[in-house]
Symmetry: C2
């Protein structure tokens, strides 16, 4: 077991914590979470003496939502039992009474291997000294599986040792259906989803199996006598399964999965898991030379992004804190489509596909929401859980502990365009025709239809969308939000494009689909009219976009005067005054620059960025990444790098304790986008991949992998040499456009392109 | 049981909640807490179906502190098990699966009786309809006792009923020593304090006892069949005891207490408890006519103040959230002596005495802290727990989730003068000579000695105190804080006064005490020198006090510009800029005006108040009460009333969710002070009680009781009549000074005094 318990030597793969800091513990639990997109386990400490009076360590199970019957209740992701609980007694005294009792304690997240390791020494009882090392993982190759390994090395002392393994928190939010010695089955009380957890623990002392005393209800104990030099190895495998229907019993599946794991043995489980991680890193690792903080942040981002998704489950998506914390109760926002999807589409298309098929499965709920509000087509839930029904709470407790009304569930409608945008990005990146025909086209059409019915023509002859909230949530119930209107126009245009495409290439499928959706030419004509005449807020003389009707007339507030603040601007100014001011919560027009760069010609992108950037208070963790991406593309790498580091600090700065409720997975997706889409200047079209790098001065090199239409590319940009190395690692020959010049790329070896000179085709 | 489950009819004694609001639930748990100064139980809902995945309902036990051995660990009040858990199954289905399943739910805090009542109907299963009513109390007459009553009225339906009663959260922070069927004994893991809980549950159906099935480990169940009209009554008595020494077993005491309660019967337990509350209300009720919101706030304040104290335990004091929530971990601040003590000294001297004797027992720790920092005498802990050792954390998480350093444990030294101040107030109010000789004098002398050693004479010939924090914690490590220096001077003066007093009246005791403390004339002479020459910050030309050296030169910030903010100013401006500004966190010079009114002659109090009031950001819940008290005394009742209502809103406004961590007991003490010491203008001297009322226009009358030197007075001020009615309800004749004129008060009936005319002695 020794070798398996050793962390990767290269520090760039490691996140470590020495000792114990109660104030930061709950943030560290988020940061050190392990997950495989189905199971998520917060990084609680390995051994407790039963003296932890905070909440038990959370194990989240994707999709295990329940909704109480109370007025205004919303779905909540219900945690399963904590399957890692261990209590070790040396001479009757708990080994880890509390963290302060340990002579040393080290927790190590080995991001390369996807495992959490801990190590501690207990030397303070004269009678006995032991070294305790643990490993935990949730398998990336078989997502039902969790594994816990504990090795106890006796340094000195001959005493009675007992180890008790249990499951804790079995009654928190779930109703027990049956709990036996090795298997528990629970149900969510209202949605009646099933959860089964089967466990097989074992203990060897110096290589000999020690029989367990079964204590009932997922509790076991072992007792033996220590002697100097003794090595005790504990292993616990668990299999966790979920069933979504009240009449389906998840137990048999859990037993089968556990049986397979036992036949494989825990060494095999670890090996398969590590192989799966190695494969993920081959596809998604980003390497930076010259900026170790950025390197660690990008590894951390890719670690959590790879942990968050599950290509095998099309019924779940990724919540705003992934499976690492309670905040937002597992709900899915536009974060997934806008901030996460580019990573998946370009490094893990299977995961991206599952996330989008989840949106296909929730299309009926989106259609119902639109119909209920008097519109056609599909209006997605602003917050989405298992069914796709609107899950936004009507009130929340604000950062100042006041209860505030939330209107986003009704008014923040750009979500429909965001989903369509992600569908299109995936289609561009993969050319996945089956997806387009089975799922994507219907999403594009139903969202386009929503916008066409949502916009109303007015006396000025233009179409308007009144009464919405844009990404900037400080301004509610506004008219003609430019982000919403331009994304709606873009969405309608893609709907029309898919109509043409299907008519040309898959006429039979088009006949079926258009007939099922009742889409006729007269409606498509109305779509075109909306797209042609929708109000855009663009001042044709200056190119400046007004964020929404009336924005330019609001109070200007110099945010520099509030530089010292450490809370969002709406809390500083009060909500009422903020609403009457130009202060923006997060990238809104700037988000438009990021998402639809082709809509901005000449200097208009720069002009709009420089107008809106100083007006933004960055009251959302999503905001800075959008600014960094746009700044990088506009050739302002120093400014972009500042946004990059500020975004990295959200989850990694030790000055904060703000991530107790989970990592900000969208901000982590934003880090990857700033590096790959920003500094490397990567863009994807239907015809191929283009790149236009502008690295920050401190970044000596930047290397990353992307996939495009079944191909796998590795790209490396070297700053001093001003060169690009492009390698086609898998797939058919393709074209790569570098700073505007096309190069043919094939499997015959790396292509080296100088970025210094005016470009000539080099291959 | 029917009658006992009915709430007091008069709405002014009631705090109610209908239905269920998850966002406010945890604030309501604080507001609806019941306590008797030894036990405190948060107002969690009565019945759960095992589906509550928040923390279990907390039962706090005063003094049950534990300190982990981690670096920088501080004592924390460890909650005991939740002894109220009940699960009722009707036809196998949990009665209260979750609050939303109930047709109706009402929670009622009956402040008059000191009980929490709930009532709900479950009609949504067609098979059966029941009405569930519950009561819980922790006895004010026997503080070890808790009682839970549940009555189940079957409206219709014949089904199988089962009721399971258990204790939950038994492993959260405590180590089980032994847990049996009817008794559990636990220890805090480090301090090795013992906790015993013994329980006796019983169930009657239509008057017949139903035998329990014992399920082991404080779990029982009962099963029977319902029939329409059936009444089932469940009663559970618990006795809780604490032992402070590792070798003391608290179990026998718990068994004895429980046995006595069983002999008395639960009706007797309720009756004794209600009699104890009736007696408390006779001594402490404040009645306001014309302002029902103020009336409710004053009842609520007195309810929690009467709940928080325990005259029988001199080893504990009252934490910043009393026994109603986790915030501040049960730690005791100056809040107790400055904000709470006046209420106790004047309405419940036995409680006040116990709180001060707690400070006597922690005097050695205070002497050790002073010595460690290089000074003489006693420097109390800024945050104090069981031993009196400094318990202030070195870092905390700020309102903006940043980790900030806390210097108060070293620098906020005015606490020593605050304790001395409270000792003197108690002495003035009671004339309790035994207390003064056994405890009070030593505190006064050792704190005076601290100040005399703390202040250093400098080149200007004056004594200075450098490097402190005053009540305004925005300005750290400052010199010559006026509050600190003037309170220090006052503390030394009282020390010298006690020297004189003891020398004159108890020469023998003085010889003993002075010899034990090593107090000689030469030292007393130095005290006098310090008191005479300490820097006060008073500008003799204007009478304006500079809050600390250099304050006047700091940046002026107009707080009106920040009127919309909903967070403290240091969060708005950032800590660095706030430190360089005149923005004050809380009453500092204004607190001095409140505590030492006699030090301010002529208009200087008003001048200082009007200078400092607009500079205060009220970043502490303690601040507004001090301002209201001073404003009332200065004859500005409208302004004072605004502060009164803002203070009441801290714990009672439904717009906030800020009291999840417990009620702000100091702000509640401040409400009482604003009413009695402010609007009624009550003051206490060694010679008697004086009153000088200035009621707000809306208050038609104000009536309250106070005790002075063994006497009990009831005073009622009528606004329209401009009259005062004074009744001496107990004790020897005394003098009452009304608006400067003395009246003799005896037991011959109420004295009626007109406040309208120039006063003449009327009796």
């Amino acid at each position: 077991m020794d070798k398996i318990l050793q962390a990767t030597a290269d520090a760039a793969w490691i996140l470590g914590e020495e000792g114990h800091d109660p104030l930061r513990e709950s943030s560290h639990e988020s940061r050190f979470a392990i997950s495989n997109g189905f199971l998520g386990v917060r990084g609680a400490r390995a051994a407790t003496g039963g003296c932890r009076w905070a909440i038990p360590a959370r194990t989240y199970v994707a999709g295990l939502f329940d909704t109480s019957t109370a007025d205004g209740a919303i779905p909540e992701l219900v945690p399963g039992a904590d399957w890692l609980r261990v209590r070790i007694l040396l001479d009757g005294k708990p080994l880890v009474d509390d963290p302060g009792d340990l002579s040393s304690h080290r927790m190590t997240l080995d991001m390369r291997r996807g495992v959490l390791l801990t190590e501690c020494l207990q030397m303070n009882t004269p009678a006995v000294g032991v070294r305790l090392r643990t490993l935990r993982l949730v398998s990336l190759s078989e997502r039902s599986l969790g594994l816990q390994l504990i090795q106890l090395d006796v340094e000195h002392g001959e005493v009675a040792v007992s180890l008790e393994a249990s499951f804790e928190g079995m009654n928190l939010g779930l109703v027990a259906e049956r709990v036996g010695q090795d298997l528990g089955v629970w149900r969510t009380p209202h949605s009646r989803k099933g959860l089964a957890m089967a466990a097989a623990p074992s203990l060897q002392v110096d290589g000999d199996e020690v029989p367990a005393t079964a204590l009932g209800e997922l509790r076991w104990s072992w007792t033996w006598r220590s002697r100097p030099g003794q090595v005790a190895c504990f292993a616990r495998s668990v299999a966790v399964t979920r069933s979504d229907a009240p009449d389906l019993d998840p137990a048999a599946d859990a037993r089968d999965k556990l049986g397979a794991a036992q036949r494989l043995g825990w060494r095999g489980v670890v090996a398969d898991h590590e192989a799966a991680w190695a494969s993920r890193w081959r596809c998604s690792d980003v390497e930076v030379e010259g900026d170790p903080v950025a390197q660690q942040a990008l590894r951390f981002a890719a670690y959590h992004l790879n942990s968050a998704a599950n290509p095998a489950d099309e019924r779940v998506s990724i919540g705003a804190r992934a499976l690492t914390g309670d905040d937002y109760r597992g709900h899915v926002f536009w974060d997934t489509e806008i901030f996460l999807l580019p990573f998946y589409a370009l490094t893990w298309p299977e995961a991206a596909r599952a996330l989008l098929v989840y949106r296909f499965h929730t299309l009926d709920a989106a259609r119902a929401k639109a119909a209920r509000m008097g519109w056609r087509g599909a209006l997605y839930a602003w917050e989405s859980a298992d069914t796709g029904d609107e899950a936004t709470p009507e009130q929340v407790i604000g950062p100042d502990r006041r209860v505030v009304d939330v209107l986003s569930g009704r008014l923040e409608q750009h979500i429909s365009a965001d989903v369509a945008y992600a569908v299109w990005q995936y289609w561009q990146a993969t050319g996945d025709e089956t997806f387009l025909l089975d799922f994507g086209a219907e999403i594009l059409l139903e969202t386009a239809r929503f916008w066409a019915s949502r916009a109303r023509v007015e006396a000025d002859g233009r179409h308007h969308i009144r009464g919405v909230i844009g990404p900037d949530e400080y301004h509610e119930d506004i008219d003609d939000n430019a982000f919403t209107n331009l994304m709606a126009r873009w969405n309608i245009a893609r709907g029309l494009e898919v109509v043409t495409l299907m008519g040309e290439r898959w006429a039979g499928r088009w006949t079926q689909l258009s007939s099922r959706l009742g889409l006729e030419d007269v409606e498509l004509k109305q779509w075109r009219a909306v797209a042609d005449t929708i109000s855009t807020g663009i001042d044709s003389s200056t190119g400046l976009i007004e964020q929404f009707a009336g924005y330019f007339a609001l109070e200007e507030i110099d945010l520099a005067d509030y530089a010292g603040r450490s809370v969002p601007m709406d809390v500083v100014l009060g909500r009422a005054r903020t609403r009457q001011s130009q202060v923006i919560k997060q990238a809104d027009v700037v988000a438009l620059l990021a998402l639809l760069p082709d809509e901005f010609i000449g200097d208009t992108a720069a002009e709009n960025f420089h107008y809106y950037e100083p007006r933004c208070g960055h009251g959302s963790s999503l905001s800075r990444a959008m600014h960094g991406l746009v700044a990088a593309r506009l050739g302002e790498p120093a400014l972009a790098l500042r946004y990059f580091h500020e975004t990295a600090a959200i989850d990694l700065a030790e000055t904060h304790a703000a991530i107790a409720g989970g990592v900000h997975i969208a901000a982590l997706g934003g880090l990857w986008q700033m590096a790959v889409l920003g500094f490397a200047g990567l863009s994807i079209g239907a015809d191929g991949v283009a790149i236009d790098p502008k690295l920050p001065a401190s970044w000596r090199s930047l290397a990353f992998s992307v996939q495009w239409h079944g191909r796998q590319l590795r790209l490396r940009i070297a700053q001093a040499e001003q060169s690009l190395e492009a390698t086609l690692e898998a797939g058919e020959p393709m074209t790569l456009v570098v700073c505007g010049t096309s190069y043919a790329l094939d499997r015959d070896g790396a292509l080296h392109i100088s970025l210094r000179e005016p470009q000539n085709a080099a291959a």
